[in-house]
């Protein structure tokens, strides 16, 4: 969109991370585990970031239509990585990933969060037969 572009008329790169964040939420929502559901079911207040990374392959301009494909590329004990690919038609525009940590509120101090093991059923929700 217009405001997603910078003074050079191409997408301002932090927006790719905003879209990765959106895409991770939509990916989890697609298996019934959006952030609100995670909170209600497991007490996990979102999935904070450990690291994020992106490689930019081709510029995108105003009114370009991009597709983002996202998948959990790695499951750890209490962290997981979501990989994202942005394409415009056949053109690879950008690739990136977010490493996120599974957290729960501290039982003793609800203002604090701490890493926790990812429940098996969360992993299972993404399993492909």
């Amino acid at each position: 969109m217009w405001g997603d572009c910078d003074a050079a008329g191409i997408v301002f790169y932090p927006n790719y991370y905003r879209w990765m964040d959106d895409a991770s939420f939509l990916l989890f929502s697609s298996v019934g585990l959006g952030w609100n559901e995670l909170r209600a079911r497991y007490g996990t207040p979102g999935a904070p970031l450990v690291s994020s990374h992106a490689d930019y392959r081709a510029p995108s301009r105003f009114a370009d239509r991009l597709t983002v494909e996202s998948r959990v590329s790695e499951w750890g004990r209490s962290s997981f990585t979501v990989a994202h690919r942005f394409t415009r038609g056949d053109v690879l525009v950008a690739e990136g990933w977010e490493k996120r940590v599974w957290v729960t509120f501290d039982a003793d101090d609800p203002a604090k969060i701490a890493p926790a093991p990812i429940p098996d059923e969360v992993r299972a929700a993404f399993a492909v037969d």
Copy 2:
């Protein structure tokens, strides 16, 4: 800044509102009543918007240095208006205002907020002798 500009190379207008929001916080902070202080002292979780408005007088471009001057232009019983002027040197770039409401958490339901009378000492903090 670079990312504040749009594909036409001028400031993307929603950023003026972002800066008004920042300026209102800084204005209140300047008299010791930043949002965190309001929450601690009065239980007011921020100051939600009723309306906002802006008139754009001249475009701004990347690397321009803008000044924003802000003041409470009107006090109501439970609402107040903050007026903002953006200038670049002698040039008036934009003018706007935010009407905000003073709220407190509902005593019966802490998930709800409700308008409340603005404490006299808040008004007094902005009084000019």
Copy 3:
């Protein structure tokens, strides 16, 4: 989305303006007059803002699904107003408008833009029989 919310967990108000800007583009695109088409056909580099305004009726929270309805509410000689209504189901969340000016590049100095009369066929494109 997650990043559209502020520290109070509700939509950060400048985002409504970002969405109005998106909606104006989509409205014009829907009649074949997106900003790129305007530029190609009439040499108009976007439609700069004169004023903008919004009234906030109800807060929106993360994962809420909003609808925006937009229409040109007024045509002037060289300016026009786009009115926007944001709803969540039956609830009116926010209303706003953008007054924009029709501009073309200056024939003598292509770095400058100047207001110009809105072409009749642009008005006509929005006419409802």
Copy 4:
């Protein structure tokens, strides 16, 4: 600032990249080579991103005061890396880097940009005696 935080009340992570972009510009400006100067002197329209990365060490909250320290950590023939460290007092909040490419407009097609060798005097401007 208020709008930099997300629904969990902590800084929305794409903002760190926005601040890295700002910091790179300010770093280059500090030696007289801001983006506008680069364009005027060398015809380089900004410094597009190749890759970016960040590691998040500690959350930041509304009204926290962060410091960013930035330096060119690597010079290549036509690319360079800017490293950034975000701290809050003694606490390391985030670390990241941006790999950027030096480009000039194509002589034959001014709508195209192409990587070009970084001028020696640009490297020299950052040399510490």
